[in-house]
Symmetry: C2
Subunit: 309 residues, 2 copies
């Protein structure tokens, strides 16, 4: 068996702890599929003493996550801290500058600094992997980019925020109001205490900008996403849509259009949409994410997975 | 730009003609994504003079498809002839023995001879690619194998035959009988003149055996698939299922189970199933294919695409 690939983990929240459990539970499988074992050699997070669902004592602790990539015994840094600014991008930059590969699940960071990080990674000739930033552990991005690589995609759209979808589909099933369902979602852990990031559509816009960049081969352009959230949707809107044969879903959509003048532009929008009953997205309920890609040869592809939000 | 990858096409039916159109229409995109152009240098099919939807005059014709792989100007043979025996496996063997890569969309051949061909390809150190055998052009297999490579899959199941799904969902929507809907499907081109291969479940069983091998890392074992088709489903069965909250779908399912004795075995079945309304597969209508994979960390992933059948 080849030498192990040595990874450092920055961030030990739900996802970081999940990575530790996954690497421990599926070690043999991963080694077989990857051709070499994967070993966690160092970890870092904001608070060392916090109670966690996994035992972190087997791993070397670093107080400063920014320097994980500079450790001689680290091949890859996995950044799971989150946040568009602060220690996450600092850690990403140091890692790339140290000539190490970076794996990140940080959609806010990629939406805001993806272009800069991609340029740095290209210059340093190191891999920058952000599959997990759109769909944790899910092969959507890889599928789009490689499995359907011979296709020209014309439109990519989907349900990109599980919190919003949980709220809308619960309003639909129960006839209850937005505020009422939001409180319940917060109590159940499907929505954050401060829900603005989700319900205003920002999280969906981050993911859309990353998906669009991959589908169309363009640079990540989060700032041009026109975003409307779901806070003004009334129970009455949903009831009325239903009588007309529609459900309401928060849809992120990216498409290229010439608008009649021959110049191709990328349009990116996140907004509540009327989705007809016979469209597959009308049946995506609860805290689920789904992406539809329409290619010029593949037709309509749909990927669906259980989202954390 | 690097040297072109030179391919030979064996078989010029719907899929083969589609490959020619795709390579012509998306040439620039493919070259950019693959890092080198793809060029069709030679073609072969049973009947040279048959009327086709694409112009084949720009390509060198070979009467004998079996020797395509022996041409010095060919790097890869794409086998789209179909059939578990005859010229397809002969062409596959010659190609591999000539040290050339083989790409195939032939699910019957992979179901019956996949193990033998995989051993030959491994010995000859040449790639054998059969993504297209389960879901033409669709990233299901790639997604399973690479995008979710760290997952242990416990169960893989889905709607693997578009003809059967078209018939069942049309019976459901219209209340009409099996024989009646089958005739219509044949008239519309959704079912073959000899429909047995589809409606008896054989085609779904071929695909299931390939999916299972990839999901579980086992050898293709088509012979052990227990198969029941849809020919005995009555309109009354469908109506009764609906009153109980179910639809009927032909489901191919593969799972590993110890059956209580600690020895893990692979179980593969194709049979009509009751699918509850709230399961995503209950909303897969028409000539559509869908696969659900349940992993120990990813949860339930669903891929859905428009099938030719």
């Amino acid at each position: 068996m080849a030498e192990p690939l040595r990874i450092a983990l920055a961030g030990l929240g739900t996802v970081g702890a999940g990575v530790i459990r996954l690497v421990e539970a599926n070690a043999a499988l991963i080694a077989r599929r990857a051709g070499r074992p994967i070993e966690i050699v160092a970890i870092s997070a904001r608070d060392r003493s916090k109670r966690r669902s996994v035992d972190i004592t087997p791993y070397t602790w670093e107080d400063d996550m920014v320097i994980l990539g500079e450790r001689a015994d680290v091949d890859v840094v996995v950044e799971l801290v989150g946040g568009s600014d602060g220690s996450a991008p600092a850690c990403a930059r140091t890692t790339i500058e140290a000539g190490k590969a970076l794996v990140t699940a940080n959609k806010a960071m990629i939406a805001h600094h993806g272009l800069e990080l991609a340029s740095k990674a290209e210059a340093a000739k190191v891999p920058l992997k952000f599959e997990a930033a759109v769909a944790g552990g899910i092969p959507v991005i890889k599928g789009l980019r490689e499995g359907a690589a011979a296709n020209e995609f014309e439109r990519v759209y989907g349900i990109l925020n599980g919190t919003c979808n949980y709220i809308l589909s619960t309003m639909e099933d129960t006839g209850r109001d937005f505020a009422d369902v939001l409180s319940e979602a917060q109590a159940k852990g499907y929505a954050e205490a401060d829900p603005a990031f989700d319900i205003e559509g920002t999280d969906a816009a981050h993911k859309l900008s990353i998906l669009a960049a991959i589908a169309f081969g363009t640079a990540v352009d989060f700032r041009s996403v026109e975003t409307t959230g779901i806070t003004r949707i009334l129970a009455a809107d949903i009831a009325q849509a239903r009588t007309l044969g529609y459900v309401i879903r928060l849809i992120g959509m990216a498409e290229t259009d010439t608008n009649g003048d021959g110049v191709e532009r990328l349009f990116q929008r996140v907004q509540p949409h009327l989705v007809p009953f016979d469209h597959p997205l009308a049946h995506v309920d609860g805290a689920t994410n789904a992406v539809v890609a329409e290619g010029n040869f593949s037709g309509r592809l749909l990927f669906q997975w259980r989202g954390r939000r």
